[in-house]
Subunit: 692 residues, 2 copies
């Protein structure tokens, strides 16, 4: 048994390969499905081309960013020896895997969208199968590449004759690469998708009564491209970095239990996160087979069964894995660790993630009071709609934050800092299936768009709408996990930074730390304003272009001439690329500048950015989600005080304003903050040996 | 000389009395001025009655709150001896002085408003004189009652044969009383004024083309009452508590330099803040004589001369006062304090307040880019207007927070914790004139409202509008001081809490403290959502009442019948009273609950509430101010891309939505947060001896 445990690390890459192989078979299967009529194929080709064009442009810019950071890393001579350039290798690998995960996911999504539309002609079941398969390709690629990359590098570096702290420090470059690419991808993709979405929505105002996804709207292809580059590729890179960050954070904190300090342990606590993540892959693959729906049934049930089934299996598996790998108990720094304590911490993470997800659903779901309140306030116009939505977003921070605080305290009770890290990992161990469920949403959304543009029968659109609506709820739960895990991961990385920078205490009553706390807490506000400003500017350009096309292209208004879709795609692309640079560089450079000024101020800054970032992320995501669903609620004909309001009514117009304001909140700045807080922590962790 | 210094404390109450006497003479002078026509007098009487009715109702409720807290304080047996009930006396005195300051200020304002209108018939100069005199009554009452109350109690308690720590602990009840009343007054007044304002604005939608302040609008009296109970009485209580908080915070931190610890010092460092504040009173009185304007001139110049002139004199006076009272240098806890260092800290405070004020002006002034950007975005509708305003508000946090962080670090360098406290005091030492300038704004606003309702000639309204517009800028600068001083005062109180609770280090890497930080940072979000929700609910009731009146009162629409103004006043009053309770109690009870659970968690909570509260306050106040002025910019006919937009245009409608959203931001939740963070710190400070 001991021999098995000692060598278990060599099995981990195989689990990563298994995930990639699963993706591959799903991909082959999807490719075989019909893409429908010529018109549908052509539309989907437009979307695909636009998405590929964007990623190409984006990755070209990112290549420069990656090369420059890699050179800086290599020359900063971390370990003071000749092999210090290896951290650049980790960094490049991390950036590459992140980019690749996003790219593959997006390729799968742009294949699956039109095939979902075609399958929706046959029924709900076949449509769900294709949409979910498309999502699962994304999910499995993310976890597969994450595990494969991390474990392979770990094996290579472990043979370098370094001590384990050194190994993990060099390995943390992988996380830095992943986070850097993720931030740019999230911000760039987020700006793209919302510039196109807001632009397309407002363009509808130019021509009275132009419905959503109408093929005459020149911005409509850009809008659908946006779903893929923002909600799919951006989210893929986002979860890739969360996943990798949680694993690395746990490895760093587990590295203190080396055999020189704790006789009972060798590298078990370091390898444990990889093993748990690997088990999560297998269980996620099994979980995908639970996702099914019959005609007329509710797809929610199948998705829930997949997600919660996997989570349930994961609880059982974690218990046995932790019990097997870790010793019964050990002492370190006057704290008695137990394997059971570590297991409880994992449980806390899973429970906290689920709870936050359910709370998110309450604040953003159409069935509950908050969204109904926003809808009621829309009767008195857009101002009260906005006030109500901002209020819902702000109040929705209360319970998640209390849960996060309780999880921190609880996980720490059970297993100290290692407990906090493993709790984050607990939330993310089932990322494979969670991401599959998340990515299925935008695929269904796209499928509906294609149905509309191709002017297919109403029932097709109804089926894809049903899939899409379910996607909103599952996305809410996914966001809960993302935010909760971001908070815990950031704290784990924060503790890891303290260890590596040799800071034992961060006394907040010291002015330099308090100053750092203030500035750190401000950064999410500044970052959000940059992201929102970017969306506003890009959307404005889009509207001007749409107006130009309607003015200059004869026959466009009547539907006899084709719009110049690619011009709009180009505008979104250029704006997104240009606008993602400044916030991205800010996130990377601020910790470096502050860190070299004072490593303690940097600690204060990280604490500030984490707390305020989590709050702003929850506030913005939930306000945006609630506005979106308040609009949907009215579109489904809502009875307010005896009058029924529907599409086109005054309250509906007010709710559209709410939704438009919410768009950059929930899809650009909100989710980017999750990455921001982790990226800043990872940057600090990486530079820690230089500033200690 | 030494004898003079030893007895200087006995002169301080006289300076407080001087301020009250100045107020009294101004009041007598104003009362003598003409109230104009019968119609004007009647309207102003309506406003005055409404304001008095509201304060009566509010104070009745507050009486209960004060009595209950006073009993709890008396029974919690702080000093473990028989005189511990004296903290209740301090508390009641603080609450009483705060309420009285608000009441007197409001009485003066409701006297000055109609007389300003009448004087505006004669010219700009006479109107400014009355409006500003009305404001200065408020300003001098606030500082006079503050200094008189604090110094008298200090003299009494100093004769109790207690040690100085005990004296100041009992004295801090005064600050608690002031903060408690201030929070309820700010929240209640803020809800009142914005419910009436939003209600009145939206009621304008009910009847096409009903202009602002039209006498047919039943909510218009409530709206004008709101200016007095929110912007005057609320602000008076607010600044009273800031002023008192800054003085007490400095006294607590100065109390460590007693003769047993520092041979060179007796109580000089404790008395210094009172002396500086007393000097500020005299200089503020002198400053009021600088405020003058000629017909056709710009009132801004006179106000600036008054404000900056007083600040300049204060710098000189501080130098001599500090040099005279404090010894050249002394050692304490390995830190070398110098009188020059203390003076530099005062300077930092004054400079930081002015800088933050100027930045606030940049982000909210009609002459600068941010407001112009919002106005441009209004061309594409209310959604982009809202996005732009939120962006401006968020980005406006950056520089003020950096200045605050730098002030904390700088003031600490010069004079340790005492430096931070004295910097806050530096900002607030000229509160007398600052508040006079602040309170002059709503008086001018009211004067304009009366001119409109009484249907006076256009030129009268133009003159009051000119005064009002200047008021907006000066209010922005005042807000900068309020926010900056709140941050520093909260930190000073925070340090005072640590000392009294015997906490030497707050290690943020401890989970219990990190948990406190998270929950603390969340509270301003929850608090803001409560305040905004309250405004939304109350405004809705108001709109329904307005609709009812137009439906049921024959002749109202045509202007032949009078509206039932008092019904609307009643709705605002009841809503404000009902809705202020929950957020108010939350602010008081949370620190108590958390503090008894863990005094360290409470420290983390205070740090969180301070950082996030400052950010949310700046964000909301500036977003609201910027939206307001973007609307004003368009109302002054704005040329955007060659087209001139004015009142009634589509961009104007969009900007009205922005302004309506901004109303609760800038006048309810935003400014309440300043008090929230200090109230929580004061509550902690007061309970510190119980939980140490």
């Amino acid at each position: 048994m001991q021999l098995f445990i000692d060598n278990i690390i060599y099995f981990i890459p195989l689990l990563g390969l298994a995930a990639l192989f699963f993706s591959y078979t799903k991909n082959v299967w999807i490719t075989k499905q019909s893409t429908g009529s010529e018109k549908m194929t052509k539309i989907s080709q437009h979307i695909r081309d636009g998405a590929i064009a964007f990623l190409k442009t984006e990755y070209k810019v990112l290549l420069w960013v990656v090369v420059i950071i890699a050179i800086l890393l290599a020359y900063s001579n971390f370990g003071n020896d000749e092999s210090s350039w290896l951290i650049s290798v980790s960094f490049i690998m991390g950036a590459f895997c992140s980019g690749l995960a996003g790219f593959l996911g997006m390729m799968a999504a742009t294949k699956a969208n039109v095939r979902t539309t075609e399958a929706a002609k046959r029924g709900l079941g076949p449509a769900l199968e294709i949409a979910f398969s498309g999502g699962s390709i994304m999910g499995m690629n993310v976890v597969g590449l994450g595990i494969l990359g991390l474990s392979t590098l770990f094996i290579v570096y472990s043979n370098m004759d370094w001590d384990v702290t050194r190994v993990i420090n060099v390995l943390s470059g992988f996380s830095l690469g992943a986070s850097s690419v993720a931030l740019f991808a999230r911000v760039g993709g987020g700006i793209y998708t919302k510039a196109a979405d807001v632009g397309a929505d407002l363009a509808g105002k130019v021509i009275e009564g132009l419905p959503e996804d109408d093929h005459r709207n020149p911005a409509t292809i850009a809008d659908n491209v946006g779903d893929n580059v923002g909600d799919v590729a951006g989210m893929g890179a986002d979860l890739f970095e969360s996943y990798v960050g949680a694993i690395i954070g746990t490895m760093v904190l587990g590295a203190v239990f080396t055999s020189s300090q704790v006789p009972e342990l060798n590298l078990e606590a370091v390898i444990l996160p990889l093993v748990l993540a690997g088990a999560g892959i297998i269980l996620s693959i099994i979980g995908t087979y639970f996702v099914k729906v019959k005609e007329g049934g509710n797809p929610q049930k199948g998705l829930n069964l997949g997600e919660f089934g996997t989570a349930g299996m994961m609880v059982v598996a974690s218990y046995f894995i932790i019990k097997t790998i870790l010793p019964e108990s050990w002492m370190y720094n006057d704290f008695e660790y137990t394997s059971l304590g570590v297991f409880y911490s994992t449980l806390i993470g899973l429970a906290a993630g689920t709870l936050i997800g359910l709370i998110t659903e309450y604040y953003t779901g159409t069935e509950y009071k908050p969204v109904h309140n926003i809808a009621y306030q829309s009767v008195t116009g857009s101002a009260t709609t906005i006030i109500a939505g901002l209020g819902v977003g702000m109040s929705s921070t209360a319970f998640p934050v209390i849960i996060i605080a309780a999880s921190i305290i609880g996980a720490f009770e059970f297993a100290n800092l290692y407990g906090i890290a493993i709790a984050a990992l607990g939330m993310l161990s089932t990322t494979g299936i969670q991401l599959a469920v998340d990515a299925y949403g935008p695929i269904s959304d796209n499928a509906g768009g294609i149905a509309e543009m191709a002017e297919l029968p109403k029932e097709v659109r109804e089926r894809t709408d049903k899939l899409d609506a379910v996607g909103n709820t599952t996305a809410a739960i996914g966001k809960g996990f993302a935010i909760g895990s971001a908070a815990l991961t950031a704290l784990a990385l924060f503790s890891a930074y303290m260890q590596q920078a040799e800071i034992s205490i961060i006394d907040i009553s010291k002015p330099i730390i308090m100053g750092g706390l203030f500035i750190g807490a401000m950064l999410p506000f500044l970052f959000s304003s940059m992201a929102m400003g970017a969306v506003g500017r890009a959307a404005k350009k889009m509207i001007i272009e749409v107006e130009r096309q309607f003015r200059e292209i004869p026959g466009l208004r009547e539907g006899t001439a084709e719009a110049e879709y690619s011009k709009c795609v180009e505008i979104s692309t250029n704006a997104a690329i240009k606008e993602m640079i400044l916030p991205g560089l800010m996130a990377i450079s601020v910790p470096v500048i502050v860190g070299f000024a004072s490593k303690e101020m940097l600690a204060g800054l990280l604490a500030g950015v984490t707390t305020s970032g989590v709050l702003m992320a929850i506030f913005q995501s939930n306000a945006g989600g609630a506005w979106d669903n308040a609009k949907k609620l009215i579109e489904g004909n809502l009875n307010i005080d005896g009058i029924i309001y529907g599409k086109g009514s005054e309250p509906h117009k007010a709710s559209v304003v709410g939704d438009t304001v919410g768009d950059p909140f929930k899809d650009t700045s909100g989710p980017s903050l999750n990455i921001l807080i982790k990226l800043m922590s990872v940057v600090s962790l990486v530079i820690a040996p230089l500033i200690k």
